[in-house]
């Protein structure tokens, strides 16, 4: 279930770029510099009351003009409806404002997006890698990162083994 698509256009005429309904879900594309403002309004406005951030995820479209998309899945516990907010960022200016001030749970979710996709969240309180090691090079969920890795593992030093086969 989702709120009427038109209500988003009416409420944020210059922040909403596009609205799309598919598979029973509503996707609202938002200008990337307005994301925090829209999120806060969606949370606080009793018409929507999107108090729950289900998930933050990202998709890489290497050929698109604005390469990355950040998806926010919102849910309202009172009204039982969902919406997906979508913001695009380019590779050159790979930054978007953090929504941690709106939902505390965004902290880890945004760190994961930063870690695996390399999108920087401005004003994030603690933006560090979360699943990978701090010295990891590259962002593995980008499409130009090979699944088998870039050979980093073969440079690891291993503990010396005993000479010859173990009898």
């Amino acid at each position: 279930m989702h709120p009427p698509a038109q209500s988003f256009r009416e409420r944020f005429p210059d922040a909403v770029i596009g609205v799309k309904e598919a598979f029973g879900e509503l996707t609202v594309s938002v200008r990337n510099d307005r994301i925090v403002e829209v999120c806060r309004a969606l949370r606080d406005d009793p018409e929507w009351s999107f108090d729950f951030l289900s998930d933050v995820s990202s998709v890489d479209h290497p050929d698109a003009e604005e390469r990355f998309e950040v998806n926010y899945h919102l849910y309202s516990i009172d009204k039982h409806h969902r919406v997906r907010l979508k913001a695009r960022v380019s590779e050159e200016d790979c930054r978007i404002a953090s929504v941690t001030s709106v939902w505390a749970g965004a902290n880890f979710m945004e760190r994961e997006v930063y870690d695996l996709m390399g999108i920087e969240f401005v004003n994030h309180p603690d933006l560090r890698r979360i699943l990978l090691t701090d010295d990891f090079d590259g962002f593995p969920l980008r499409k130009d990162y090979p699944t088998e890795g870039r050979g980093w593992r073969s440079t690891f030093e291993f503990l010396p083994t005993t000479e010859g086969p173990v009898s």
Binding site: A22, S54, V59, D60, I77, A104, G105, F108, M109, Y145
Partner: protein, 422 residues
């Protein structure tokens, strides 16, 4: 254990653990003042109570926790990246290895997401069988939690009791699909095997005996002074904070927030049976214990109603391009052989688009976001795992408690690191 270096070592503000304020030591000031300083304590990644590999760095003042920083990723296997190179039916086996304690619900959450993308409706019997198996998995997952949580905080006996019943359920699953932990039982379009009469008989016998067993666990703990002292008022989170931190499942409901995906967005057979969502009041570990115990009862209630109403018919759709044809037909029928071959080589091709599908796993909301470009493997697959999100609230919930409570706070979420690190 990592002790803070001697106070003369200045920690820079870029230090991994943040700035540590030092009280001047006895040499450079008032010698009569007792030296006090914050202590950094490293816990894990190998620690029996973390149920996997989780490392937490604790900032301590005496025994009190000032800050807890979880360091995740020791079990990161790149499931989301791997999924981008696999066909849709191959990914089912990857989902087994997320929350390996409750593999059935992971399979369920994933196949539901793919079915939503395909617009497929599974047969009524499949819906019921799915509900039965998912609820049995919830019972076994909660029994696992109860046993290990009690073991961690000093009540060893409960473990033997809960694992006794969990073993019965695992044997039932083994009879059903041949595996004890990594089931891959759900498939896109239905389930792989039907419930046989002897499984149903065994299940009914289990359900008949089970209510007394729940009373048994409860008598071991309900009036146990150690259990009460170590769970009441520990890991408290208010309803507002729990929602803000995106907590789900029993962890959220312990704070009195009524959000259960099975009720909010009913799927499978949940709308056809009667059951209640237990809610807590205080948002502490004891309330979560109470809720999980009550959920076990409700699950048993759902299963027995589903068994009574179980419709006849197939347990899977039979559509070329979505499901494999039956093996008997493949042996004798040329067309079925071709369909089988095409399924194995090409797999399923859902339409272009993106979906998010949430399912109530024993630990909370397990969501799959699938972005499809119309090809035979997902363009992007994102797993919203409850354990990962719950650890985001760990620091908030651990502050102010004692070191001894850390074990309870780990356990209160029912964290499984395979799902958290993915």
């Amino acid at each position: 254990m990592n002790h803070v270096p001697t106070p003369t070592t200045k920690r820079s503000s870029t230090d991994e653990f943040g700035v540590i304020e030092h009280v001047p030591d006895a040499n450079d000031g008032d010698a009569a003042v007792l030296r006090t300083e914050e202590l950094l304590l490293n816990m894990g990644p190998q620690h029996p109570s973390t149920h996997g590999v989780l490392r937490v760095v604790l900032d301590l003042e005496g025994e009190r926790i000032l800050k807890a920083t979880p360091h995740l990723g020791y079990l990161h296997r790149g499931t989301e990246k791997l999924a981008e190179g696999k066909t849709y039916q191959q990914i089912v086996t990857l989902t087994d290895r997320l929350d390996y304690v409750c593999a059935m619900t992971n399979n369920f959450a994933y196949v539901r997401a793919v079915e939503k993308l395909l617009g497929v409706q599974v047969p009524p019997r499949a819906e019921y069988v799915r509900t039965i198996v998912a609820e049995l998995q919830r019972i076994s997952g909660h029994l696992f939690w109860l046993g290990t949580q009690a073991l961690d905080i000093g009540a060893m006996t409960v473990f033997f009791y809960t694992f006794r019943e969990r073993e019965i359920l695992i044997e039932l699953f083994e009879k059903l699909c041949g595996a004890r932990l990594t089931y891959s039982y759900y498939k896109v379009g239905g389930v792989s095997d039907d419930l046989t009469p002897d499984i149903i008989a065994a299940l009914r016998a289990f359900l008949k005996a089970f209510p007394d067993k729940i009373i048994e666990y409860n008598t071991l703990l309900e009036t146990n002074r150690i259990w009460l002292a170590r769970t009441k008022g520990v890991a408290v989170i208010s309803a507002e904070d729990a929602v803000s931190y995106s907590l789900t499942g029993p962890t959220l409901r312990g704070s009195g927030v009524n959000y259960d995906v099975r009720k909010a967005e009913p799927y499978a057979a949940y709308a056809d049976v009667e059951w209640d969502v237990p809610l807590g009041k205080n948002g502490d570990t004891y309330d979560r214990y109470y809720i999980r115990l009550e959920e076990i009862r409700q699950s048993a209630r759902i299963v027995s109603q589903c068994l009574d109403k179980l419709p006849e018919g197939p347990v899977s759709i039979d559509v070329p391009g979505i499901t494999f044809p039956a093996k008997e037909r493949v042996m004798v029928d040329m067309e079925s052989l071709i369909h089988h071959f095409k399924m194995a080589c090409e797999g399923i091709r859902p339409p272009k688009g993106e979906i998010y599908c949430a399912t109530e796993a024993p630990k909370g909301e397990l969501g799959f976001y699938i972005n499809s470009d119309g090809g035979n493997h997902p363009y992007r697959l994102k797993i919203r795992s409850p354990s990962f999100v719950h650890l985001g609230a760990f620091d908030h919930m651990a502050r102010g408690y004692l070191i001894a409570d850390i074990v309870t706070i780990f356990g209160t979420y029912d964290v499984v690191m395979g799902e958290c690190d993915r």
